[in-house]
């Protein structure tokens, strides 16, 4: 194995990496972020910004860390005076035509030009006698604006469209200091994954119209989450301002979505901020639904479950957490049970340059989790069975009307007219308001984290169901989503998994066993 690793020293710290590793990545291993603009791990190396110049012992010239592979015994100094001087030179050149309009720029606060100039740039410009290059803002596509004045021509957007999206509509037009990012005269930047160019842009040159002037970067709270747009399970970060989700951005996961999310997922957040929420448990009193406390509502459900016999049906949302789906089934384990969910279908939209990454036709995040737990896609059969069932439990599904001669218990975030016949209504949290897991189409179990508080008295579904199950079975209550997951992980195919094991990147169910095709 001796020849399968390379030993080198970066800023005095020894590091061992696989052969072929780029210096810029090796440096990350010792905690050094070499300043850079054109380099992005998800794109082919361009080596054009010349920002990542570092000193390599015994080499006559400074080397760009993004295109230099490690070699045995290499001694790299990122902080060498000549390297710092060269990088300061690049920053000065980048700034001569860059407007200092940070106060009105969406990128401010998360701008790599700001960061590195602050870190090692000159205190003042020497480009004082001249006006800056000016080009008007261009409308590139449905959600992308191009502000050429801020562009530093790193070409990340060009390479994304060419090499990742495989729809090369962007280019570098003109030469020298007249250069700008051009778009094909008859094309729009409307590829289903085009929004990634906004994330990739290291400065505020490519902007999302949806996020335009919505928030300053430093006002945002962030939470790791999983996209709910389809069964791909792309890892995302929810950005919130004042407990309102204002932006969804990709969170890197090399196994699932690399560094990207599609525009459908990116735009799929407004419902998380809905104001028409159920904020208190409701129980039927004299033909009317009246607000009550949780103890009363849960007692009522316990009584209804205990009093029912025979057939029970669960209509679940494929947006429900795996924990909630599991507990909902366990609650009704003594019944002749049937569970189903409705999977909305859409058009598949692959990202051509990344294998096994697409906006999937199955437009919900947890269909696989539901199927692993015994729920079926045959929602019509479940609705038919519900008509004669003794007990029907709706978990988070507001779009499937159910009628029953038995008892209807409705747990949801909103209360549609067709659910007003329920005996009990339980207010639950949505994905942004709870911890939980989803199982993507490849059987990868992935955690999502609470991003904001649930409104009113709404509680996570796993908590509600665990309260019911615990009372029913005389078992221990789950006080966290992790407890609920541990209950789930007592049996196949989830056995062996835990929140600690899932971490931020997730893990596949055992051997992918039982994952429906």
């Amino acid at each position: 194995m001796a020849d399968s690793v390379v030993n080198l020293t970066i800023d005095g710290v020894p590091v061992t990496v696989p052969p072929g590793t780029l210096l810029i990545e090796a440096a990350k291993q010792v905690g050094v972020l070499v300043p850079h603009y054109c380099y992005h791990p998800g794109l082919p190396v361009a080596g054009v910004c010349r920002m990542c110049l570092v000193h390599v012992e015994k080499q006559p010239k400074l080397a760009i860390a993004c295109a230099t592979q490690v070699a045995e015994g290499m001694v790299v100094t990122t902080t060498a005076p000549e390297a710092k001087a060269a990088r300061q030179g690049v920053l000065e050149f980048l700034l001569i035509n860059h407007p200092l309009d940070c106060p009105i720029c969406d990128q401010a606060g998360e701008c790599e030009l700001q960061d590195f100039v602050f870190q090692e740039g000159r205190a003042a410009t020497r480009y004082t006698e001249y006006s800056k290059r000016f080009n008007p803002v261009e409308d590139f596509g449905p959600d992308v604006l191009y502000v050429p004045n801020r562009c530093i021509l790193c070409t990340r957007c060009v390479r994304f469209m060419e090499d990742v999206a495989k729809e090369p509509v962007l280019n570098v037009s003109e030469r020298g200091d007249r250069a700008f990012i051009g778009i094909h005269p008859e094309a729009r930047l409307d590829h289903p994954w085009a929004g990634n160019v906004v994330d990739l842009c290291p400065v505020g040159s490519l902007l999302s119209k949806d996020f335009l002037h919505k928030a300053r970067a430093w006002e945002l709270d962030k939470a790791a989450s999983v996209c709910t747009g389809c069964s791909q399970g792309c890892n995302v970060t929810l950005d919130l301002r004042d407990n309102t989700v204002v932006r969804v951005r990709p969170r890197p996961n090399l196994e699932v979505n690399r560094y990207f999310i599609c525009d459908h997922g990116r735009a799929n957040y407004r419902w998380m901020n809905r104001g028409d929420r159920i904020e208190a448990p409701l129980v039927r009193e004299g033909g009317e639904l009246v607000a009550t406390d949780w103890d009363t509502a849960l007692d009522r459900v316990r009584g209804l479950v205990r009093g029912a016999n025979g057939k029970a049906v669960t209509i679940a949302s494929p947006l429900a957490s795996t924990e909630a789906l599991y507990l909902a089934r366990r609650l009704l384990s003594r019944f002749d049970w049937m569970g189903a969910f409705q999977m909305v279908q859409g058009e598949e939209a692959p990202l051509a340059g990344v294998p096994n990454l697409a906006l999937r036709a199955d437009r919900a995040p947890n269909g696989t989790g539901a199927e692993l737990l015994g729920y079926t896609k045959d929602v019509a059969a479940a609705v038919a069975a519900a008509a004669t069932a003794a007990l029907v439990f709706v978990l988070g599904e507001a779009d499937v009307p159910v009628e029953t001669k038995g008892v209807l218990v409705y747990a949801g975030t909103t209360l549609p007219d067709h659910a007003r016949g329920a005996a009990v209504v339980l207010p639950i949290a949505n994905v942004a308001e709870e911890d939980g897991t989803y199982v993507n189409r490849d059987g990868r179990v992935q955690r999502y984290f609470q991003a904001k508080p649930a409104p009113g008295m709404a509680r996570p579904a796993w908590w509600v169901l665990s309260e019911l199950v615990a009372e029913h079975e005389g078992a221990v209550r789950a006080v966290s989503a992790e407890d609920a997951f541990d209950m789930l992980a007592e049996a196949e195919p989830f056995s062996g998994l835990s929140y600690a094991k899932l971490g931020l990147a997730g893990a596949r169910v055992r051997n992918g066993a039982g994952v429906p095709a």
Partner: protein
């Protein structure tokens, strides 16, 4: 000086022997002058033997870098697993250089013959001759010659294509040239991978200059020893070279001399010296990208790779630009940087922004609004533009600036101090 004209007695006329001889342009005329004999000889030789012969001749690249040609050829994969390509750099765009143009205008078959021999040596099936877009006449002549040679089936299995450039200086840079041939924007690429490993279309490629390749048949004809003996100074610089002389000179034109020839004699004897009543002020000996020399340095320079380096410049492409005492070195420097600012491909930050900023500062000095601190700023920008980019266009812009300030600082200071009348509008 136009052709035909009698060569100067101190010229060593090998490559330019048939310049002005219109009959040599035709296939028949070229055959009559012994053309394509060396191609037949080479095709019968083992490719490695051709490489060895060129290696021992000491021939070095005439495009500017002066890399040993045989050694470059030997970098091609020993075991041929994929198609090999030869690219011929006929994108002669270096300001002050016009030798390849004359080679193609007068002896197109010499280039085709050299190209085919080189392709055989590196075991390439396909050779692209990348002709500068503005070279309409040379291209027409090359097309005619190629059609005749193809009709006579002289190239064996080797296919030669002419590819016309679209007018970008940067496409003379070898990796940009390959990008351009591939139909992409002519941007230089980062090395490694070097062209011999992954060149045009990602396949092993060698790129040679026109003048380099036309020397090859002569080496095969007379032998490496004969070629090696043509050296007047340093034995590492062998053979003859065409020098294109332009600017403030009595008889501008192409002159072919043996390497090591004194620059002073080239200017004063062969090219007829300065215009009447004028004296030499400065000279750029190797095309606009190399540092300029003052009079003393010019008059003591020996024209070979080492001799130029000794004086702090480079032999480059052999484009000799002459400035007499009427030249405004600040203005001339600005004209050069303006060219590089126009031609920068815009990839590397230092080049894209630096060439333009440098030009703006020089324009401001010429407008009488310079500051003394501008000179230090220019030198610092030049330092930031040197040795830090993908290709050397950025370095080429910095070289004239640094050398001009070093040698003619007083002229800059005259503008800044108001001792000289501004020549540009503010």
């Amino acid at each position: 000086m136009g052709y035909p004209h009698k060569p100067h007695s101190r010229e060593t006329v090998i490559l330019s022997k048939y310049f002005g001889d219109a009959e040599a342009r035709s296939f028949k005329g070229w055959k009559k002058r012994g053309g394509y004999e060396m191609l037949d000889k080479a095709l019968a030789m083992d490719p490695n033997a051709v490489i060895e012969e060129v290696k021992s001749s000491g021939l070095r690249g005439r495009g500017g870098a002066g890399f040993p040609t045989g050694l470059k050829w030997s970098f091609m994969p020993k075991e041929k697993k994929k198609a090999h390509y030869l690219c011929v750099n006929a994108d002669e765009s270096e300001p002050g250089t016009f030798k390849d143009r004359e080679i193609m205008r007068w002896t197109p078959h010499a280039l085709l013959e050299g190209t085919a021999i080189a392709a055989h040596a590196i075991r390439a099936e396909i050779a692209y001759i990348y002709v500068r877009g503005e070279f309409t006449e040379p291209l027409a002549i090359m097309e005619q010659a190629l059609a005749e040679a193809n009709a006579a089936k002289v190239f064996g299995k080797i296919k030669i294509f002419l590819h016309r450039g679209a007018g970008a200086y940067i496409c003379g840079e070898e990796t940009a040239l390959m990008s351009s041939i591939e139909g992409k924007r002519g941007n230089p690429r980062i090395k490694p991978p070097f062209p011999a490993a992954a060149g045009v279309f990602g396949l092993p490629t060698t790129i040679n200059n026109v003048e380099t390749l036309v020397a090859v048949p002569h080496i095969l004809k007379h032998g490496a020893e004969w070629y090696k003996k043509m050296s007047l100074s340093n034995p590492k610089s062998t053979g003859t070279k065409l020098f294109s002389i332009c600017g403030h000179i009595a008889k501008p034109g192409n002159y072919e001399v043996t390497l090591g020839f004194p620059l002073k004699d080239l200017l004063y004897e062969l090219a007829g010296g300065m215009r009447q009543g004028r004296t030499l002020k400065a000279c750029i000996p190797g095309g606009s990208s190399v540092p300029m020399l003052n009079r003393e340095e010019t008059e003591s320079t020996l024209l070979d790779y080492e001799g130029c380096v000794e004086k702090g410049t480079m032999l480059g492409s052999g484009g000799v630009i002459v400035f007499d005492d009427t030249a405004d070195m600040v203005y001339q420097t600005m004209r050069l940087t303006r060219f590089y600012a126009h031609e920068s491909c815009a990839q590397c930050t230092q080049c894209r922004e630096g060439t333009a900023w440098t030009t703006k500062i020089l324009e401001r000095i010429l407008a009488g609004q310079g500051k003394m601190s501008d000179l230090d700023l220019l030198l610092e920008l030049s330092e930031n533009m040197t040795g830090k980019t993908i290709c050397v266009l950025s370095d080429s812009c910095a070289a004239p600036v640094v050398s001009a300030i070093k040698r003619f600082r007083n002229e800059f200071e005259d503008y800044i101090a108001g001792r000289r009348k501004p020549v540009m509008a503010a």
